[in-house]
């Protein structure tokens, strides 16, 4: 099933996600300060930065889990506004993988994967199951399809969460620290699935501290601090030759 990862031809959709002068406040505290970012279709972006720098908030604005208060966010040609239709349309196109998986504990793995396609996209059950098994196979977990989330390890649950997001055939996938809640020995299996996705051409925005992953797949690394994008570069340049003092300080702490 390649349709989810194919790159659209039309020029208008060359830009998958665009943020223009986006700002957001939590009370008086400005979490995002005039963020400008354009993500091309098929591009893989890793967002790094100290905690509290606004990186999670930024990607959560892209599927309207957080609302920006100023500026403009356009996803696949649709602008995010108070219009519920637009929000629904964007959420159908944008998948998200969370730090804590957020699987539905009362549903089996396969039911977790077929729920949204059946109810949101009205896909017939048999087709939804076929698709789900295909993606579960892709993250190498199809044999657990009839178990409940609590019967799986953290790494397995996160791979299910990736498959669940893929079942909606999103045009963009957001990852919000997908490996931060995992035991160290389970990080690899999740990263492997993400690398595979990147190779398939999925448009990805990943908030992560896994700098090895950034080196391996990212087209661009974005460094955020105090609500601002203060540096962005190709990974080789970013790691070899950081420009900003705060980037240097951050990298010296995180890369050993």
């Amino acid at each position: 099933m390649q349709s989810a990862t194919q790159q659209p031809e039309s020029k208008a959709h060359d830009i998958a996600v665009s943020l223009c002068q986006v700002s957001k406040w939590f009370g008086a505290f400005k979490v995002l300060q005039d963020i400008n970012l354009e993500v091309r279709t098929g591009e893989r972006i890793v967002i790094a930065g100290p905690s509290g720098s606004g990186k999670s908030t930024m990607i959560r604005c892209i599927n309207w889990l957080e609302r920006h208060q100023k500026g403009k966010i356009v996803v696949d040609g649709i602008e995010l506004t108070d219009n519920n239709k637009n929000v629904d349309a964007v959420r159908r196109d944008v998948g998200m993988v969370f730090q804590h998986f957020n699987l539905f504990p009362h549903l089996t793995i396969i039911e977790n994967c077929t729920l949204a396609p059946m109810w949101v996209k009205k896909v017939p059950q048999s087709l939804a199951r076929d698709t789900a098994l295909e993606y579960l196979e892709k993250v190498r977990i199809a044999d657990q399809a009839h178990k409940y989330p609590s019967q799986l390890s953290g790494g397995q649950q996160q791979r299910v969460a990736i498959a669940r997001a893929l079942c909606m055939k999103p045009k963009v996938l957001l990852f919000d620290e997908p490996t931060s809640a995992l035991d160290p020995e389970m990080v690899r299996e999740v990263l492997d699935s993400m690398v595979q996705l990147a190779k398939d051409g999925m448009t990805m925005l990943c908030v992560t501290h896994e700098m090895g992953f950034a080196r391996q797949v990212a087209d661009r690394v974005i460094f955020m601090d105090r609500g601002e994008i203060i540096e962005e570069n190709a990974p080789t340049e970013f790691f070899a030759n950081p420009q900003h003092e705060r980037t240097k300080a951050f990298l010296s702490q995180i890369v050993h």
Binding site: N63, W64, L65, D88, R91, R92, V94, G95, M96, F98, H100, F101, N102, L103, F104, P105, H106, L115, A116, W119, V120, K121, Y148, S150, Q151, R164, A165, M168
Partner: protein, 221 residues
């Protein structure tokens, strides 16, 4: 032993009272649950006036003896609104429902607070609508958590319902006293009422445990 036999012999005489108790408590429980859902929805609406008024309502109901509420509705309200005579049966249903709604709304609120974090965001991120989120994701998880406490609240309503004999409702308690007055037997009818209340409340507790097991089946937590 003699008294027990006598008590059991009296049971058939009380059945019409039992039916009234069942009807009032059944109707009141259903209305209370509906009311509780509305109260929870109002509390979550974020509209300040709405949140404030249901909070006051719940606090009042939790602090008010049921018997006062029943008297207010049966004697006070008709006088105030010039209604004449009102149906004791329906006053009973409404009083118990009003009280039950307040307590059940607290049960639901507690169950919602115990949902695993991130379920709402997980659902929204997949494109579910608010209705779909509640129907497919949240409610199936709230039910098994809330069920034992909701069953407890229904038991509480049944135990509060004898207060309605004070406003002429011939419920199980009132009926047992009528039988006492006819037979001059002070103990038998009361024992019979005990047995019937006990069976009623016991079977609700049993049914809730059975349902809870069914709802959580296959789910290793």
């Amino acid at each position: 032993m003699k008294y027990i036999v006598k008590g059991i012999e009296t049971v058939p005489l009380l059945l019409d009272g039992l039916v009234t108790t069942l009807l009032i408590c059944g109707l009141a429980s259903v209305l209370a649950l509906a009311g509780a859902i509305l109260i929870v929805a109002a509390r979550r609406s974020g509209k300040r006036l709405l949140v404030w008024s249901v909070t006051v309502y719940v606090t009042l109901m939790r602090g008010l003896p049921i018997v006062i509420l029943v008297f207010l509705l049966y004697f006070g309200m008709p006088a105030l609104l010039d209604l004449g005579r009102v149906s004791a049966f329906w006053v009973g249903v409404i009083a118990l429902a009003m009280n039950g709604a307040a307590f059940q709304s607290e049960v639901l609120r507690g169950a919602i607070a115990r949902l695993p974090k991130g379920q709402t965001e997980g659902g929204y991120a997949l494109g579910l609508s608010k209705y779909q989120l509640w129907r497919l994701v949240l409610t199936p998880q709230i039910l098994p958590i809330a069920l034992p406490a909701l069953a407890g609240e229904v038991g509480f309503l049944i135990k509060a319902s004898p207060v309605l004999s004070l406003i002429t409702v011939v419920d199980l308690t009132r009926r047992s006293q009528q039988v006492t007055m006819q037979t001059f037997d002070p103990l038998g009818p009361l024992l019979a009422a005990c047995v019937l209340y006990f069976i009623l409340i016991g079977s609700i507790a049993w049914a809730s445990r059975y349902l809870e097991g069914r709802l959580t089946v296959g789910r290793a937590r």
